[in-house]
């Protein structure tokens, strides 16, 4: 089956209905053993130093993987994706644009999804069938999320992994579902975590590899992964267009904050880590986040794939100390 890459979550129901193998290019890049090298490769080809690492990583990962067709999200994520699409087209890769309407207008979003269906020759019946199939898997991932914050049986890293993987179902829904089921069976016999500090992780998924275990080694566990949870389409909405309207990630920060605030309260979160990518427009939104959230917020910045550096470790440790003293 033909692989189709995408730059951030899109209605993958359409890809599955069209018999394509969905590949989240972010996952392809970050799980590569040579992720750092991929960035170097993109920079050698001319990508500026001060451009987001994900864009550079995706560029080189696409060329490495042999994927010939991608969907680039040109609105709702960053405008770098548009230029990425352009440079990839120079390499003969076919790039299909997809735009989340900035105003969350239902009609505009419906047209966008229909354009995508037309592009891939996917019928509405096949798309809805794919949605039913995916929703079954998503529900199981929602259970993993519940077991994270309500039963305290799942680590922050595991919660991150299963939810982030829902963006492309690890390119193999059946195998991914088996993995989830195996995990769900094993996890219930665990002893619950008993950490002192409960954290929310908000922002794009981290480019840093060892954040979650480091937090846990310091007595703090992430019980809410904002964006990753959004990838899993957490609201159980049956209408396809509504589902992607409710999905907060591609829309404004205030929409995201409504979801964040509600979850923070429900999950009894003590403090928030706001992760921002170097050179990303979302760094500006940190100002809004800090103003609107009443909990302590630590803003972490990541640039390239790496483990936590000594300075970031110092900042995290000091932050956790402060949270501990306050509570």
């Amino acid at each position: 089956m033909k692989k189709t890459g995408f730059t951030t979550s899109i209605p993958i129901e359409v890809l599955l209905a069209a018999g394509r193998v969905p590949v989240d290019l972010n996952n392809l890049f970050i799980t590569s053993e040579r992720s750092q090298w991929l960035i170097d490769k993109a920079e050698l080809e001319g990508f500026p130093r001060n451009i987001c690492g994900w864009i550079k990583g995706i560029y080189a990962a696409v060329l490495e993987s042999g994927i010939r067709e991608i969907v680039a999200v040109t609105e709702g994520d960053c405008s770098n994706a548009r230029a990425l699409m352009e440079v990839l087209s120079l390499k003969g890769i076919s790039a299909i644009p997809f735009a989340y309407p900035g105003d969350r207008n239902r009609e505009s979003l419906r047209i966008e999804i229909e354009k995508l269906m037309e592009q891939f020759g996917a019928s509405l019946e096949a798309v809805m069938e794919a949605k039913t199939r995916l929703d079954g898997i998503r529900r199981k991932v929602h259970e993993i999320d519940r077991l994270t914050w309500q039963e305290n049986l799942v680590s922050g890293q595991e919660n991150h992994y299963f939810q982030v993987a829902t963006s492309d179902m690890n390119s193999d829904p059946d195998r991914f579902e088996e993995e989830i089921e195996g995990f769900l069976q094993a996890v219930v016999s665990r002893k619950p975590f008993r950490e002192k500090i409960r954290l929310a992780y908000i922002g794009v998924p981290p480019i840093i590899s060892d954040l979650y275990p480091f937090l846990e080694s310091r007595g703090a566990r992430v019980v809410f992964n904002e964006t990753q949870r959004q990838f899993s389409m957490p609201y159980g909405i049956t209408d396809l267009v509504e589902q992607y309207r409710a999905y907060t990630y591609p829309y404004d920060i205030f929409t995201r904050l409504e979801d964040i605030t509600a979850e923070i309260e429900k999950r009894r979160v003590d403090a928030v880590i706001h992760y921002v990518q170097s050179f990303c427009f979302r760094q500006i939104e940190d100002m809004v986040v800090r103003r609107q959230l009443s909990l302590p917020v630590l803003t972490l910045e990541g640039d390239k794939p790496a483990s936590l550096d000594a300075r970031t470790r110092i900042r995290i440790e000091s932050f956790l100390e402060m949270v501990r003293e306050k509570s």
Binding site: R290, D303, A310, R311, R313, I314, R315, S318, F319, E321
Partner: protein
């Protein structure tokens, strides 16, 4: 008796505190100190403090050692208590100033930290990240380009030549360009001090509070303090031992 040690990027600072009073302060260049007295044994960093000649044998035998500073969380220390830099600095500033509520600006060799202290406790903080252009090391570089001492550099505040480059290294070539334009050294020095003020202001604006306390090696520069006061419109409190604040904090922390 307690000995506080602050392992800075440029200097290692020591304080000896007994019965609530600072008995002695000392410092040593970081690299030289690590080379001469530091050793890693089984992933634990140990210092031969007796060999430094800074402490009497009975002091080392009886005093509790508390350490903070760079690299402290990548290595374990043998037989000493380790605290985070931010806590050490807050404890030092509370001890030295006697204030309960204030904003602390600590500017060291590489780090700039801003902490909001309420009721003598750390309430929130920010640190520079990814870039160390607003640091003591930057001042040292600029002083060497201008061929003046650090004391000279940090004494000028009048009529600064505007310097715009955000990078501490590109800033060097910008400064060279301004030297060629014939600006007097005093105005160039003032320009360097002003860039420092500009870089810390956004961090300070996050935590407005009635008092601003300045610590770290940069606090020794009179011009910086004066320009910071002009920009913030309020007096800047520099404790008696700004550079040893972290080490004092280690020795007094609860």
């Amino acid at each position: 008796m307690r000995i506080g040690i602050d392992l800075g990027s440029r200097k290692v600072k020591f304080s000896v505190v007994d019965n609530g009073a600072v008995v002695r302060l000392a410092d040593y260049d970081t690299l030289g100190f690590y080379k001469r007295f530091g050793r890693i044994v089984d992933e634990e960093l140990s210092f031969d403090l007796a060999a430094t000649g800074m402490f009497a044998a009975e002091e080392l035998a009886s005093a509790a050692l508390v350490v903070t500073g760079y690299g402290r969380n990548t290595l374990d220390f043998k037989g000493v208590k380790v605290v985070s830099e931010i806590r050490a600095h807050v404890a030092g500033a509370v001890f030295q100033t006697g204030l309960k509520d204030f904003t602390l600006l600590d500017m060291g060799g590489q780090d700039t930290k801003v902490a909001l202290v309420r009721g003598r406790r750390l309430d929130d903080f920010v640190m520079n990240d990814k870039c160390a252009a607003s640091s003591g090391r930057y001042l040292e570089n600029m002083a060497s380009i201008l061929e003046v001492s650090l004391e000279e550099l940090t004494s000028h505040w009048e009529d600064p030549v505007p310097l715009d480059t955000t990078c501490g290294i590109f800033g060097e070539s910008e400064l060279i360009g301004q030297i060629l334009r014939g600006h007097p050294v005093a105005r160039l020095c003032a320009g360097v001090n002003q860039t420092l003020v500009k870089r810390v202001l956004p961090m300070l604006r996050r935590f407005p509070s009635p008092h601003l306390v300045l610590t770290g090696g940069v606090a020794r520069g009179g011009a910086f303090v004066r320009m910071l006061e002009a920009e913030t419109g309020s007096p800047v409190i520099v404790p008696e031992h700004p550079q040893h604040n972290g080490a004092i904090g280690c020795a007094v922390i609860e």
